[in-house]
Amino acid sequence: MRPSFFHHLHPPTIPAKQSRWRYTLGAGGTAVFLMLVLGATGILEMFYYVPTPDQAAQSIQIISYLAPFGGLVRNIHFWAAQLLLIVTAVHLVRVVFTGSYAPPRRFNYLLGLALFIFAIMLDFTGYILRWDQGIQWALIVGTNLIKTIPLIGNSLYIVLTGGIQPGLPTLIRFYAWHIFGLTLGAIILMVWHAFRVRRDGGIAVPPPHLRTDKKRIHRNELIQREVLAMLLTSAALILLAAFIHAPIAQPITDINIMYGDARAPWFFLWVQQMLKWGDPFVWGVLVPLIILVVLALIPYIFPKPAEAEVGKWFPRSNRLAQIVLAVIAFLIIVLTIFGSLPSS
């Protein structure tokens, strides 16, 4: 068969062992697919969404209830965004737990981590675009956290919100970041990340002389697996979208009066839980930043994965990095669970 453009995006052959689903978990590829879904559904939503405080929530009602298949499109966009965070987190965990960040892939690990941060910011800005009472608490608290940063906090707040309190400039800025700034950055990073995967020698495997299993599969096989993953992901998205609707709430009537549930979006519940412990700068800004720095330094400060152990789960050589990530992940999950419990 004459290779198509899509075939050419893949290496001609890849190691059979490392191309198994149980090894990759399909997370990286699924994340790319979810980004494509998000782009397509996001464009459709842009035809209806009005980024002004007095019309945003109503335009989302129009999308949800009145535009043909609008509710389905919005629900798919919502679920793809939630799954994207889970899938990218799984991807990060897989890379650390298989030692795949070992040189020469250290820089690409950082690109991947940056993409993860972009995904979180895209999720948060998209969440804020609802501009209804369901997001009001997170908007106020999230932007106020910026103010707690010493020296630059207040200026940064004004840069972010465009005023002394969230309003029209804030929504326009979040919208611009969501559909343009962050999306463009994410596309560049994604292409760069994928390019570096190829440039760094494809999926992480031990050097040829240390490989125990030298079997390779053709890219046609890989593409078929990707097609299967896309089919199943699409089916999951559509089913989720059809039966569990994206959150929606009544419009904000006064930005200074808080209504309803004072709760962060689920991916920031762990931060919200920490905010209960004291100083908002320490727990809301500094600790998350330290966690990010620790994650970024994983390829640089912890014992490196041994060459022979690359490309399999839980190598002994980088156990410390695995433990650090496991502890961070465990704490975040526990805090998220506590944060999601009904407040007493």
Binding site: Q58, Q61, I62, S64, Y65, L66, F69, G71, L72, E221, Q224, R225, V227, L228, L231, L232, S234, A235, A236, I238, L239, A241, A242, F243, I248, A249, Q250, P251, T253
Partner: protein, 433 residues
Amino acid sequence: MKRLIALGSAILLFAIVAAWWTNSRQLKPIVLIPTLTGKPEYCLTCHSDLPAISPSHPIKTFGCVICHGGEALALDANLAHSTMRGGANPSDLSVVQGSCGGTNCHSGLAADNNNHIQRVMTSVQSTYAGAITNILYTFGAQSDLTARFGIRVVTDNQITTSTGVPSLEAFDPTTVSNPFILKFAVNCLFCHINAQPGGIVPPERNAPGMTPGAQPLLGPQFDRLTGCAACHTPNVDSFPQGQIHKLTTDIPYTQCNTCHNRGNYDLQKMTFLQRTDQPQLTDRLQNYYQPIAQFTKCEYELDCIDCHTRTEAMGDGDIHSNEADIQYIRCRTCHGTPTQLPLTKTLTDPNDIAFRQAQLNQVVNLQLGDTILVTDKGEPMWNTRVLPNGIYRLVGKATGQVFTFKPVMGSACTQNGFDQSSAYCHTCHSVQR
């Protein structure tokens, strides 16, 4: 692998079919663009079976949202209803200004007699100032009978009568030490048109230091809504569940009875003695207002609104200290005295308010040149007519029933003409039960 892809495709196909199915099960939106707002609303998607609320509020002109609020575009019941004014009753006095107000609507100019909301908000029916004042005075908590407190804070910037007071503070039962006044506070603060009959215990009942008192009276004979709908949505029990959607000026006596026929006060014990014989009584005479009251035929044959004017019922825009300051319909209003015929007026102005009022009930065909009775304050009793033979005719506003009656003048009545108290006239003119 190809089998797996075929299976994956089948699963995706199933998902698409399922999504199509759920999408097709969604409600087909029914849009309405009321002429007054020009903005689309989709309430009729679910509520197309509701009857129009009144001929004065046609759905195509008003729509739903202008009165009820709510999310006009949402097709999810919870979201759509989340921002409704006053829940199911936008006329509750806590939200009435937003729902029924506006200079083109019911908070219009006093000069045009359109300031209904201001009048209701200041009326004794909603302030309960009369009872509060009398109790405070009786038990020495204030030195005169001028109202200082109401159920809530009320102010009036434009006093037009000699008995009007500028403002009332909210009566706070938690500051009361006198046991009688405290008992009054516990037992009696339900007695105003914005009190919810049954079910909801208002916050003042749960104030710290308060002992739980009598609950609001329950029973179909007491069922009514709050705010404007307390009077203008009669017989709430007659509607199917969730279908109470009617405003009318045809208010039968039974609606007034939901408040004014519940029993009697025991001022010694400061308690309310509920009638125990209701609602079995279907005979109007048996059912008549106040078991110990003296009354005459017209008081149980007519509906209350046939004589009592809207100013009496809804207030005149001033805050009054007592019911007596605002209730001025007397026997002589219709019957006159031995020396004086009742006041009358011949309608010569096509813009006379009598025509507007007559249009609302449409039980009489009022014409220019007709002579009608008027109250001491000049209010038209538009449902009456002075007939050429000197006899008067009254048409029931809620029933359309026709009554004729004669003036006292020229009759054998020996009243002095000045005493219009209930006991005086009822000495001769009372009905035995």
